[in-house]
Amino acid sequence: MTVYLLCFALLLVGVYGVLTKRDLIKIILSLGIMGYATNLMIILFAYKNGAIYAILTKANSLNGKPTGPMVDPLPQALILTSIVIELGITAMLVAMSIRLYEKYKTFDITKIRRLSG
């Protein structure tokens, strides 16, 4: 249970950053932290204490049967996909913040507000 609470705390750190920080880069980093917390949560769902990875080798199988419990491999595949997506989005956001800096000469979100109302 403790690990889930810690994971939730990590998510809250990310949410706090997105909501309160004024610097574009810090907002991007906070979004990254939120993503890590989510990935960690999904990995934790699949985790079993003392289980082996879900690949059968000579060391962990007997006549093609696994010797012990195995972790669920699907969430690992899921978070690999979600990590790649996050990489793309982060790269996009960083590129956009560079262009914003060229236009506005600042990273401060409160000064970047030509759109309003």
């Binding site: 979600s82 989005i89 996009m92 956001l93 956009m96 913040s97 262009r99 506005y104």
Partner: protein, 491 residues
């Protein structure tokens, strides 16, 4: 089985466009128009051939619990038609609009990725696959909003991207919880397992998904990104975003999830109605105050999505008919209005209603089609918007909800109010406007005329006899709720 082609064709087109386009955009235009025309033909064919059956495509030849499946039923075919129709007209419109600065193939490649993402979301029957396609569509949308390269566009796109990532994180958390509870990602299988679980869990997942996909659909408390993003994007992209993106990623997924997977729990239907009514009223008042034409249209989108939510929340077959019909109608007239705004912006260089004037002589087609779209969006007969709003209002009265019916009627009048403002100042104003030197190309004119004609033609769909074979199967898919399980799993 034609469903995989809805993903393959635009993805292949995007890939080929990046490969073979040189400095000019001729090949990009030809390839993308070919791709979208074939998508439109395929989607119409799919809709006619599917009718009320459900076809399932299992990727890679694996059996269902172990594979990603694509589900073809009336609802998904209907949404595919809407997406293909609006993307075709947007593409025809784009050619001159994008060429006026400099011809660039990147626009078309991104456009095709946007279509890929939306088609994927609509076609898939697997919830994580849905998430991946949603991200593809959003990624293309962020880039396209910032396409013009002005400061405001980057600002809007950044805002949109932050809100989008936030909602995507929420959705991913929801998917994680759902997987840990049900041990499956196939939506039909989830629907089968979910009733045996703790009701508290179901409510949590519903809440997370409502917030996540509500952000994509831009209903009222989640709407903050929409006016900026939709008004800053190039006009054809605004019409794609307002016309289909918020519906494919937001409303469609909410319908699929809350009706076909969760079986329309009463508490969430109540929330749908409340969110819908808040959107209708508040967004209308915000729209009245706008002087920027595209911002006004963006707020109007929020208000019209409110009508769809209200119809879905009432959840009787008649109300669902109204909501589904309004999805189609809103896509058509809102796309048309954004094209009009795009033409005006292109030739007068302004979006401010006070600087626009009497455009009836200068741009006859633009002002005529804008009049048709205005009548349609504000719900005057015999245009399509009238029928969908009327159906929703009648359904609200039949369901014994006079308060919501009143809200819908008031919202309808407010819509008429702010669109009269558009006509009064924007297209029939007092400022004298000279005929512009540049001609409005045939592509732009065709796109506007097609949609204006459709505003009138689609109202045929409510006539009994035609309704049963067009909108009827779509309504059946939604209102038969959990039949989805047996249709997808048991064959």
């Amino acid at each position: 089985m034609i469903l995989p082609f809805f993903i393959i064709i635009p993805l292949l087109a995007a890939f080929l466009i990046t490969l073979i386009s040189g400095d000019n955009d001729n090949w990009a235009v030809i390839l993308s128009v070919l791709a979208v025309v074939s998508l439109l033909l395929l989607s119409v064919f799919a809709f006619i051939s599917t009718q009320d059956q459900t076809l399932v495509y299992e990727t890679g030849g694996w059996q269902l619990p172990f594979t990603i499946c694509l589900v073809q039923d009336a609802l998904s075919c209907f949404m595919l038609i809407v997406v293909s129709l609006i993307s075709l007209t947007s593409l025809i419109f784009s050619v001159q609009y994008i060429r006026r600065k400099e011809p660039c193939w990147k626009y078309y490649a991104l456009f095709m990725l946007l279509v890929t993402g939306m088609n994927g979301v609509i076609a898939t029957g697997d919830i994580f696959n849905l998430f991946v396609f949603m991200e593809i569509a959003l990624f293309a949308a962020y880039a396209l909003v910032a396409y013009g390269g002005k400061a405001e566009e980057f600002e809007a796109s950044f805002k949109y991207a932050v809100m989008g990532s936030l909602s995507s994180t929420l959705i991913l958390i929801g998917i994680g919880i759902l997987y840990s509870a049900t041990s499956t990602l196939t939506m039909a299988k989830i629907a089968q397992v979910l009733p045996q679980k703790d009701p508290a869990l179901v409510n949590w997942i519903g809440g997370i998904f409502l917030a996540g996909f509500g952000l994509k659909a831009a209903v009222m408390p989640f709407h903050a990104w929409l006016p900026d993003a939709h008004s800053s994007a190039p006009a054809p992209i605004s019409s794609m975003l307002s016309g289909v993106l918020i519906k494919a990623l937001g409303v469609y997924v909410l319908i699929r999830f809350f009706f076909n997977v969760m079986g329309a729990p009463a508490a969430f239907m109540q929330i749908f109605m409340i969110l819908g009514s808040i959107s209708i009223i508040v967004a209308s008042f915000l729209a009245i105050g706008q002087w920027d034409l595209k911002r006004l249209l963006a707020y109007s989108s929020i208000s019209q999505v409110g009508f769809i939510f209200l119809g879905l929340g009432i959840a009787s077959p008649l109300a669902i008919l109204g909501a589904v019909f309004h999805i189609l109608n809103h896509a058509i007239f809102k796309a048309l209005l954004f094209y009009n705004a795009g033409v005006v912006e292109m030739f007068l260089g302004t979006r401010d209603l006070r600087k626009m004037g009497d455009l009836r002589k200068a741009m006859p087609i633009t002002s005529a089609t804008s009049m048709i779209a205005t009548l349609s969006v504000s719900g005057l007969p015999p245009f399509n918007g009238f029928f969908s709003k009327l159906i929703i209002i009648i359904a609200a009265i039949q369901a014994g909800l006079p308060v919501y019916a009143t809200i819908a009627i008031v919202g309808s009048f407010l819509t008429l109010g702010y669109f009269l403002k558009v006509q009064r100042y924007g297209f029939r104003g007092e400022n004298k406007i000279e005929k512009p030197e540049i001609k409005i190309g045939w592509g732009m004119r065709t796109a506007m005329i097609i949609l204006a004609a459709l505003c009138l033609i689609t109202s045929v769909l409510v006539i009994p006899g035609i309704r049963e074979v067009t909108l009827g199967p779509v309504v059946d898919v939604i209102s038969n709720k959990l039949n989805y399980i047996s249709l997808v799993l048991g064959r």
